[in-house]
């Protein structure tokens, strides 16, 4: 393709100044010779253009008989043909081979998809740009089989949690991100519109080259590079839209709350509940319709020697929660420069600057706040909800007012600079330096205020916090490429060094002369109140890598790779990990005996096996082998109450810690039917993680402030990744696709003496149990069999305490006549057993449409926000409508209580977490080329799009997805976080 352009460019230089010429011809399908209707014909450097008619015929007027015509048709390869004096030109067009045999990015290189022996999922820019989000990870949701994406929260600027092929560890299960070769754990700064493609490496063969960091999968993000072309392409892409919360939680209104409170206290505290009416809708008080907008301007171009892509982006998102704001400026400069025959240098540089305002955590307090209060009382003061309802309750309106002066600015300079030397004909040496400089600057001011005894601030405080991370990787690789007749060999060997350091400090003062922004700098405060602190950590990794790809006759494929990692995280004796993998592929579709069948156009089998490490699982433990002494454990002595330093061992070290590793087997098959219109990719995998490093809960008598980390368990994730696509080219081009990822997660062994890991303690009781034979972190508690109709019924039944009429009845599972700890059981898993997605799209007469659906099933959610009651909070409607009362003794839910046995960990709080969501939908219209060319515009497209417009879920909360970055045995708990939003956008895309 590039060569064609090159030739054309040279021809172009000698064609100019000819008179108008009419050209006609017929456009046909190369496959079957039928005429193609609606093919766009455009003069490459002129104003001429047209569209083929119902018979496939066309007539265009061009500047001269030496012009070049460009034939484009959705789903077909675009052709550029020089007239060379002809006035009749018949063209036959073939389907775009790139769609079938594209080049995909793999670790430390690229490969033809047909040569791949590993499981790699790929998403191109077109599908990423469609989702209006500032987060690359969120844009991946529902796009690739085996890749499960959960938004962290709806807070603007937040990313998402990605799980590739299940949850393979008891600790941090996030994949690593490799952005143009630089490894990072946080890709939140990447502007999705700068992304050319995202490849997700799923199996051991693909991931092994990332060794100690590959066990959770690898997300490769490649940003757009400059393309060699005659005229630079200038693109403008902008959208503006509005967001709102996807749903509201059904809570009691004021009169219902008053009735419930009367029942709770068995009083007539509210003499006439009905008189209170609706009261305050606290969700309405904190949520809002919020705008979001994006402008992207980029210039892309290049010559034989120098290619460039420059982009500037401004993204601004207001949160659906009041006082949460996010804006980000991203600049990107990607260049490559052929210095001479043997040397190429280049860079991918990105700078981002973000500013966020963080709202206080009022989502939970709005959920809890009784509706009988107005935000402010009749005197204009914020209402104090603690009387009579208890101290653990805060007025969200007051928090929003007093605690929103919380700003965070971040700068990130991220990129790679490389030099590539070709030598000895088949060798390429590449030295790649990647860096990531990031700094954060936080400013938080809380004025003096008092709403209640527990919601107050008695001295004004200004806190400043600065953090700086400096990460770098230096990679040296040598690649040997050789093709003989039927053999193709690529050998890669490399050495990399990686260092990451982080340092932060903070300072605070109080006693400011006022609350005005211009006064809120430390020096304005009282210097006798000053405090400061600072801390740092670092880590290093040295790695050797090796990979061989061998292809015989384009049919028989072999990949062998190995990485040796040495990490500073482990004690010297346990520092080195070796991570090998091997895989085989067979392009059976190219065997004549298969070709002759005429059934499949493409058929490929793959099998791979490898061992990967998961250093990520101790992401926040930088020195886990060492016992770390914590200081600042102060105590005062003496009549002057002098602060004395105290220090002791808080983090227990474990020098015996060894690498957590995953063995993964993958068997895959790729097929194409009906001229490759139908393609299918099916993988079966078995991912077995052993020596899992994780903190384990220990009894309190050990006296440790932290749980120790040990190599504790083995977990198996076994499942299928299935991708099906139908792609129909033509005037009415359409596509349908589905991804299906059933996965079963099972704990195979717990190495320690312990037979179970109990975690997620809620009011003294564990709410999850991790035990051999069950998924990680399965909910664990009592099973509810009903509600006691009467005190007599309760008295006669096995009980856990003093349950009476209207209380939950728990199942006596061991039939010993009493309810106790032995009656607890597995109550379901928070891990979905199936994640799936559907996508559909069409293009016709300038219109384009695309939609994505995604869903999960088989997971449970613990409605923890409903089960926490430290004071009298509002109740959910579900606790009220059919509650037990003396007059409704057949009620299906318990009487109104605020503590006691009804709040024990039980399946009363467990709900179905399945959902299906219309993740995105976009409808666009591209103005006809002929029309636009007169305005010197290459392309002009308008679109409307929507995200999360429709969701079908059983769960009563905002959403059954809560990105919990904690340990896997504490996921699936809805503690009331920032909900996700649904949004509408209107956009414009223009290229010159």
């Amino acid at each position: 393709m590039k060569n064609v352009i090159l030739i054309l460019v040279s021809i172009m230089t000698i064609t100019s100044g000819f008179a108008q010429v009419r050209v006609n011809g017929l456009v046909t399908d190369k496959q079957d010779g039928t005429p193609l209707i609606g093919v766009t014909i455009r003069e490459k450097s002129g104003a001429g253009g047209g569209i083929s008619d119902i018979d496939g015929r066309y007539i265009v007027s061009v500047a001269g008989s030496e012009s070049v015509l460009v034939f484009s048709y959705t789903g077909y390869a675009t052709q550029e043909i020089a007239l060379n004096g002809r006035t009749e030109l018949n063209v036959s067009m073939g389907e775009d081979a790139n769609l079938l045999d594209q080049v995909v990015v793999v670790g430390y290189g690229t490969q033809r998809k047909s040569d791949l022996t590993g499981a790699v999922g790929s998403v191109k820019s077109k599908d990423i740009e469609r989702i209006a989000t500032g987060s690359v990870a969120q844009a991946l949701q529902g796009k690739i089989a085996g890749v499960y994406v959960t938004p962290n929260s709806g807070e603007p600027g937040q990313g998402a949690i990605i799980r590739i092929r299940g949850t393979g560890t008891l600790n941090n299960a996030n994949p690593i991100y490799v952005i143009d070769g630089m490894i990072t754990y946080d890709a939140s700064f990447v502007n999705p519109q700068d992304v050319a493609s995202i490849e997700v490496l799923k199996d051991a063969s693909a991931c092994a080259i990332y060794g100690a960091r590959g066990a959770n999968g690898v997300v490769l993000i490649t940003t757009k590079t400059g393309q060699k072309r005659e005229n630079a392409v200038i693109s403008l892409n902008t959208y503006y839209g509005t967001q709102q919360v996807t749903k509201r939680i059904d809570l009691l209104n004021a009169s219902e709350f008053a009735q419930a409170y009367n029942e709770l206290t068995n009083t007539a505290y509210y003499p006439d509940p009905n008189a209170l009416g609706e009261g305050t809708d606290w969700q309405g008080e904190i949520f809002r319709k919020a705008p979001m907008g994006n402008v992207q301007l980029s210039v892309n171009g290049g010559t034989d020697r120098f290619n460039y892509n420059i982009s500037a982006n401004y993204f601004n998102q207001s949160g659906i929660l009041k006082n949460s704001e996010y804006e980000r400026v991203t600049l990107r400069l990607n260049n490559d420069f052929k210095v001479n025959k043997w040397l190429t240098i280049g860079n991918n540089l990105a700078y981002s600057n973000s500013k966020a305002q963080l709202a206080p955590g009022v989502v939970t307090s709005a959920y809890r706040m009784p509706p009988v209060f107005a935000p402010k009382d009749s005197l204009g003061n914020f209402s104090d909800p603690t009387s009579p309802f208890g101290l653990a309750i805060a007025n969200p309106a007051a928090d929003l007012f007093y605690k929103s002066n919380n700003h965070n600015k971040a700068d990130r300079f991220f990129g790679t600079i490389y030099g590539e030397i070709k030598f000895l004909k088949n060798f390429t040496f590449k030295s790649n330096f990647g860096f990531d400089l990031n700094s954060s600057n936080e400013k938080q001011f809380t004025p003096i205020f008092q709403v209640s005894p527990s919601q107050l601030n008695t001295s004004d405080q200004l806190w400043r916090r600065f953090g700086q991370g400096r990460d770098w990787i230096w990679e040296q690789t040598v690649t040997y490429d050789q093709t003989w007749d039927k053999h193709r060999v690529t050998v890669l060997a490399g050495y990399t060094a990686d260092e990451r350091t982080y340092e932060s400090f903070g300072a605070g003062r109080s006693g400011f002369p006022g609350n005005a922004d211009e006064l809120l700098y430390l020096d304005a405060g009282n210097d006798t109140t000053q405090v400061n602190y600072g801390s740092a950590h670092d880590e290093a990794l040295i790695s050797y890598l090796f990979r061989t790809n061998y292809t015989l006759m384009d049919r028989y494929l072999l990949t062998v790779s190995m990485r040796v990692d040495q990490s500073s995280r482990f004690a010297a004796d346990n520092r080195t990990g070796v991570f090998p993998s091997a895989s085989l592929g067979w392009n059976a579709g190219q065997e004549s005996f298969i070709e002759n069948l005429g059934v499949v156009d493409r058929l490929k089998f793959r099998v791979s096996y490898g061992i990967l490490g998961n250093q990520n699982s101790i992401r926040n433990r930088y020195y886990p082998s060492l016992g770390v002494i914590t200081s600042r454990l102060y105590y005062v002595f003496g009549p002057d109450e002098a602060l004395n330093q105290g220090a002791t061992l808080i983090s227990i070290g474990n020098p015996d810690l060894v690498w957590e590793t995953a063995r993964q087997t993958d068997i895959g098959m790729e097929m194409g039917f009906f001229n490759n219109r139908l393609s299918a990719e099916i993988d079966w995998y078995n991912r077995y993680t052993y020596d899992i490093i994780a903190p384990v809960p220990i009894p309190d008598y050990v006296g440790s402030n932290e749980d120790p980390i040990v190599n504790t368990a083995q977990v198996r994730n076994r499942g299928w990744d299935i991708t099906l696509n139908w792609r129909q080219a033509g005037r009415f081009a359409w596509n349908l696709g589905a991804i299906l990822s059933p996965v079963s997660n099972e704990v195979v062994a717990l190495n320690d003496q312990k037979s179970e890991i109990l975690a997620a303690f809620l009011q003294g009781e564990p709410a999850t149990r991790t035990v051999v034979g069950e998924p990680i972190g399965s909910f664990y508690g009592y099973k509810v069999i009903g509600v006691f109709d009467s005190a007599d019924e309760a008295a006669g039944a096995p009980r856990i305490g003093n349950e009476t009429a209207g209380d939950l009845q728990f199942a006596d599972l061991n039939n010993d006549g009493k309810i106790d700890a032995l009656d607890r059981t597995n109550l379901g898993s928070p891990i979905p057993t199936l994640t799936y997605g559907f996508n559909a799209g069409f293009e016709v007469a300038g219109f384009d449409f695309a939609a994505d659906l995604l869903g999960v099933t088989g997971n449970k959610v613990y409605n923890a926000k409903k089960s926490f009651r430290f004071s009298v909070y509002n109740w959910e409607k579900s606790s009220y409508t059919d509650r037990w009362t003396p007059t409704n003794t057949a009620g299906s839910v318990p009487r109104i209580t605020n503590g006691g046995t009804n709040y024990r960990v039980s399946d009363y709080f467990i709900e179905d977490g399945s959902f299906i969501r219309l993740r995105s939908m976009v409808l666009g219209y591209t103005l006809p080329t002929a029309l636009m060319q007169r305005a010197k515009i290459n392309k002009l497209r308008f679109y409307v799009s929507g995200n999360n417009l429709w969701t079908s879920q059983q769960y009563s909360g905002y959403s059954p997805e809560f990105g919990n970055d904690g340990t896997p045995y504490e996921v699936g708990f809805d503690n009331g976080g920032y909900p996700i939003a649904k949004s509408w956008q209107f956009g414009l895309e223009m290229t010159f």
Binding site: T265, S387, P388, F389, G390, L391, A392, I421, F423, L424, F427, S459, Q461, W463, Y495, E503, G508, V531, G534, S535, A536, H537, E539, A540, S568, A572, Y623, L626, G627, I629, T630, R632, Y635, V636, F637, G638, D640, E641, G646, A647, T648, G653, P699, D700, Y701, V702, G703, S704, Q753, E756, L758, G764, E765, P766, G801, A821, S871, V872, G899, G900
Partner: protein
């Protein structure tokens, strides 16, 4: 071609040298130590660090679990001295303890269990490592170990009184012993406490022997006082008498002239103070909790106007009624609506949400510079009058009523002050009648100072007194708190629950 080959060779050689150079310093590159933090291996290198490790044990004493909700719940609120307080529906899990409707999952019990085992753990580490600190002043070395042993013994004394048999852990636990501890017999726990306290008595200086800047550290007198308490629990009255008299005869302590001064700033570490949790309202470091403070004052502070806190731990009707007519200690112990607070200025306003509004005046502190949960009040764990009453109690049990009366009347005399119309001297010498007088005196003298529950249990009167105020107390069960359910779960039942739970 030739040129290019030469160039390529040069490249290869350069790359090779680079590789070797980088590989050479690899070990250094990979050996990382925590930044700004010492490690287990680099700590305990000098006397300063040994002192810091000991200070960290004290530090745990002022953490939430040890002196806030769990502590007050398992001492005052559980007893007949106090009710939960605050508004009726606030913190109902505390009410469960007040009402004896709890089980092993109540966070109050896991709180004190966790809190005091953390004291023990920090002490164990210091006791293990301080003897090996190089070039250390032997006097300091001995004293620090003594302080840690005192703190460890104090923690076990609390745990054994609450839970009965508890695991005795005297060294830092390794990974293979996290889950297999069993409860040691109560008498073995007593022996452990006794050993530690005898060592502490030997190692520690008297209060006055400490440099002023070290005021607040555990002293010989404090260790003797805790030992006396242990002997009282064991009903070993002769030994209790011995320890009490040793404290009295050390002339380190005396009663303050004015009872109420004990609980004001002026009384902190005063002549009557034997051991206190030290606190100061300093600016918060990062976040909310101050570096030298406790939430003790906030939790019990007046809730309403003036707003000093949350209003928990309300002195009960039964307790208020237990004072003799005119006993000024009642006014010094209880804050009522309409009362002028000890700062002499503020008057407590009625809060209509709180029924029968009262507060613990001994936890009162004036408005201060710190945040509300940055309470500056020291927590008086052991006062001289407590020792005088223990002396009286032990002497009476040892059939020395005359001497017993002397100490009892010292306490009453001070309480009476200059008002000779109240609190007359006791003259009864009948052992059983005198015992009642002493028991009664302990209650009013030490009311709301977290002593009552332990006294009732050791006297064997918990059931009688709890049932008298209508609590669901089951005799033979509720004298001991349930072992936290989470501990039993985590040890897969190696820890057994107390009977009845």
């Amino acid at each position: 071609m030739n040129n290019s080959t030469t160039f390529s060779s040069r490249c290869l050689i350069t790359a090779g040298i680079l590789l070797l150079a980088v590989t050479g310093c690899q070990k250094e590159f990979l050996d990382r130590k925590p930044l700004g933090q010492l490690t287990y291996d680099t700590f305990f290198e000098n006397g300063q660090q040994a002192t810091e490790a000991t200070n960290a044990v004290y530090n745990q004493l002022r953490q939430w679990d040890c002196i806030a909700f769990p502590w007050i719940t398992c001492t005052d609120i559980i007893s007949d001295d106090a009710d939960k307080g605050s508004t009726p529906t606030d913190a109902l899990y505390v009410l469960e303890v007040d009402d004896f409707t709890f089980d092993g999952t109540n966070s109050s019990f896991s709180g004190v269990w966790r809190g005091y085992y953390r004291v023990i753990s920090r002490a164990n580490l210091a006791i293990l490592r301080i003897p090996d600190v190089p070039d250390m002043d032997p006097i300091l070395q001995k004293r620090l170990i003594g302080e840690c042993k005192f703190l460890r013994a104090y923690s076990y004394l609390l745990l054994v009184q609450w839970f009965g048999d508890v695991p005795i852990i005297t060294e830092p636990l390794g990974g293979d012993s996290y889950y297999n501890q069993v409860r040691d017999n109560q008498s073995a726990v007593y022996d452990q406490i006794e050993r530690d306290l005898l060592d502490a008595i030997d190692a520690l200086p008297e209060k006055a022997q400490y440099a002023s800047s070290n005021l607040g550290r555990a002293s010989k007198g404090a260790a003797r006082g805790m030992l006396a308490k242990l002997y009282m629990v064991k009903k070993d009255f002769p030994k209790a008498e011995e320890q009490c008299l040793a404290i009295i005869n050390s002339n380190q302590y005396s009663l303050l002239t004015k009872y109420s001064d004990n609980f004001l700033r002026v009384g902190e570490n005063g002549a009557e103070s034997i051991f206190e949790v030290q606190a100061a309202a300093l600016q918060p470091n990062d976040g909310v909790i101050g570096p030298g403070a406790t939430p003790y004052n906030m939790i019990q502070g007046v809730r309403g106007v003036p707003n000093l806190g949350w209003g928990f731990n309300r002195p009960s009707d039964n307790f208020v009624a237990s004072f003799e007519n005119g006993d000024p200690r009642r006014e010094a112990t209880v804050i009522y609506v309409g009362e002028v607070l000890p700062d002499g200025a503020t008057i407590v306003q009625d809060n209509p949400e709180i029924i029968n509004e009262r507060y613990n005046q001994k936890a009162w502190v004036p408005a201060h510079s710190g945040l509300q949960d940055n309470g500056p009040g020291n927590i008086r764990l052991l006062r001289y009058s407590d020792i005088l009453l223990l002396a009286a109690e032990a002497l009476n049990e040892n059939n020395k009523p005359t001497e017993a009366l002397m100490y009892l009347n010292l306490v009453r005399k001070r309480a009476r002050g200059t008002n000779n119309f109240i609190l007359p001297d006791v003259a009864i010498t009948d052992q059983a009648m005198l015992r009642e007088k002493i028991y009664k005196e302990r209650r009013v003298e030490l009311g709301m100072e977290q002593q009552r529950w332990f006294d009732l249990v050791r006297w064997g009167r918990a059931a009688e007194k709890m049932q008298a105020v209508g609590k669901n107390f089951v005799a033979g069960k509720h004298e001991l708190l349930p072992v936290p359910q989470a501990e039993i779960d985590l040890t897969a039942g190696a820890l057994k629950q107390n009977p009845g739970y």
